[in-house]
Amino acid sequence: MRRDQVTAALSPVLVNLGALLLTVAISMGVIAVSGNDPVAAMRALWDGAFGGRTQIAGTLSKMIPLMLVALGWIVAYRARRVSIGFEGQILAGGILATWVGLSFSSLPMVIHLPLAVLAGVVGGALWAGIAAVLWARRSVNEIISTLLLNLIAIQIVNWLVRGPFQESTGTFPRSGPIAPSARWPELIEHTPLSWDFPLALATVFGIWFVLKRTTFGFRLQFTGANEEAARYGGIDTRSVTVIALVVSGALAGLAGSSLLLGGESRSMSDNFSANYGFEGIVVALLARNHPIACIPAALLFALLRQGGGLMEARVGVPSSVVMITQGLVILLVAGSGFLLDQRGRVRVDAEESTPHPPTEARRATVEVG
């Protein structure tokens, strides 16, 4: 029994590790085929991500939005809602955070910064709230609504940085400088790493605790596992789901505020979300929807983001190789997840408890015809 438990706990770790090694191997193969030195490329990738204080700080700071968005995905997916609106929620959060950061510059930092961060959270929550209410009241599919809300948010930002928020010279599509009192202080001096990093880490553990140990977490889990049974059991599944979507947006909004109030940024530009809203989903996928596992998963993707630049500059490997690597990680990790599921399924079959139509049905339709 003991040994079984150890194997059960270890096997996902080992399988994921195997998938990563395979990813590295294939990526090096691709680099070799493209006519570059794979070992030098890997060195460059490593140096770019961990070669020095600045590099490490850059990598860590890139983890922040990745982790927060991944958490957002996890919370929504607990209720089995598929939100792909994190880009839009990041932008909405960023807009409100920037607005607070540009105004009220007479406030002291202890008030101004929390206010700006809170504005970001509220912005993301509101943007997700639109999709949540549409879902609850009108049964609008959240995948579609969140996707379309992304497009709206992008255009609003485009207008803002060329209109009301534009810097005073009026030449560049970006906002004026955000007041220093609304910016996160540096965690390591003269690096992009600021105090929002520990906040993001704390959020990871906070969400983990909420999901695992609170009555809300239980409601959410049961709702996602079987909505009808949850309703029969007295859980208000609709409001639980709405809350989950709103919290998920709030997390993305927090990520948006971090992108503007922390790190190296001084102002809002039109593409500040930098695809974090989608990459974060992949991080959650890699973490197999476990909050804590988001930390290493985000580290991996931050590494690729941060180190990829040097790989291109020093060895001349096109940056598309980095994207190939990202794709490989997803494919192989998803594939290995399938491997783990299969093992689980055999064990279930063995118990021969209840018919589970989906698998059986699929097999039979394929094979009986």
Binding site: Y232, D236, E351, T354, P355, E360, R363, V368
Partner: protein, 505 residues
Amino acid sequence: MAPLLQMTGITKRFPGVVACRDVSFAVEAGEIHGLLGENGAGKSTLVKILYGLVDPDEGRIEIDGREVRIRSPRHALALGVGMVHQHFMLVPTMTVAENVALGLRSDRPPLSRLRRVAAKVAELSQRYGFHIDPDQQVGELSVGLQQRVEILKLLCRGAELLVLDEPTAVLTPQEWQQLRGTMRSLADAGKAIVFISHKLDEQLSISDRCTVLRDGSVMGTVATAETDKASLARMMVGRDVVLRTERPPRAPGRPVLEVHGLHLNAAEDRCLLADISFTIAQGEIVGIAGVDGNGQRELVEVLMGIRTATTGTIRHEGETVTRLTPRRYNRIGAVIPEDRHRMAIALGLSVRENLVLKDFCRQPFSHRGITRPRVFRDFCASLLQEFDIRTPSLDVAMRQLSGGNQQKVVLAREMHRDPGLLIAAQPTRGLDVGAIEFVYRRLLEHRERGGATLLVSTELDEILSLADRIAVLVSGRFVALLENRDIDIQELGLLMGGASEMVAS
């Protein structure tokens, strides 16, 4: 002459369990052979082996005296073994002929030979008295007729041995009678049928011989003409089973639930429930009899606040509770929903999580929104003991439990704190006799303690042996509300059945 199918010494092990242990049985052509056993006794593994879905570890399979290794369902069909699954594999928007033709190799590819298939279907339907029109859409057919289409599919593929996996689970009593006729005419035409069911009456009424499985081993094969219900039950469960219940007389207590003039209309003024009135007193079981789909589900959902009645009042212990929510209902009563997998449990969650669904937000299970896993654990452990739930641990997924144990989890969750009011909808659906006995005992104990019970069931026997009063629900109306004293089962059946024809027309 060799039997049509001979399985010898079949053993299949899965990690931690032996699903089949040295199983041998034989089926002759023209025979209806029953396969009987509790959930988890090894019936489905055996059938999966026969159908090429699972490879046995040991043993041999002979068909017509030749040893075979069945590699896939397609291969099984080629060998003349066909299977009707509990869940049909039909495309509702296609016609009968099209469904039969799906996956059938045309004799002149790439042209499909739909007319030829249709003619074949018509001919087979004629020969066995199926009354099926090949050009009708499958989605328009009743469940019983869809089942015949499944059988037709197999016959068109030349199956000589038909495996029917729990075919009666989805049928009304009338449809079961018709299926019996179908099975008999197939057997008379020389087909062999393996009939899987854990219902003893069904086995006794149709099977020629019956093989009983328990814990993966064959307990014996008996000719059904030479056995009876009690001895079959004993073979299957391993001890004597008492389903005849004793209902000691009781003095009716205060009314717990009073329902008056309940109406429920669907969107287009279609009436789902009409003028439902009844009361349930302390220590009383009121049974709702009726064929499935006559408003049972709607009634339960109104009573527990999932739907709101159009008009009418519901009073609980004198207090009007017409505008309930499921949450409020769960404070005053408990419910065993009719469809376990859909409404009662989450198959993917652990036994523990399923057990605490009704309690997790109360003290001492949680405090200020924070749950206490240790309290959960102790509480669940005591429930496992009290309700005799067989599970490897509290952490295994609900999916891994047998149907009977899943139902015990529901029972434990709902009944552990003596609810004053219990709604039990089809509480024994899909359970084997051992588990049914357990449920009956629990329901009667609840009655003994003065609890009020609303028992909704399509099984007349169940209603007659448990209920104090019986209401017959037809098309959303009570056509009768009777004391359960000297009730003529024929009459009750007529009330239900005659009305079910009205529904059909």
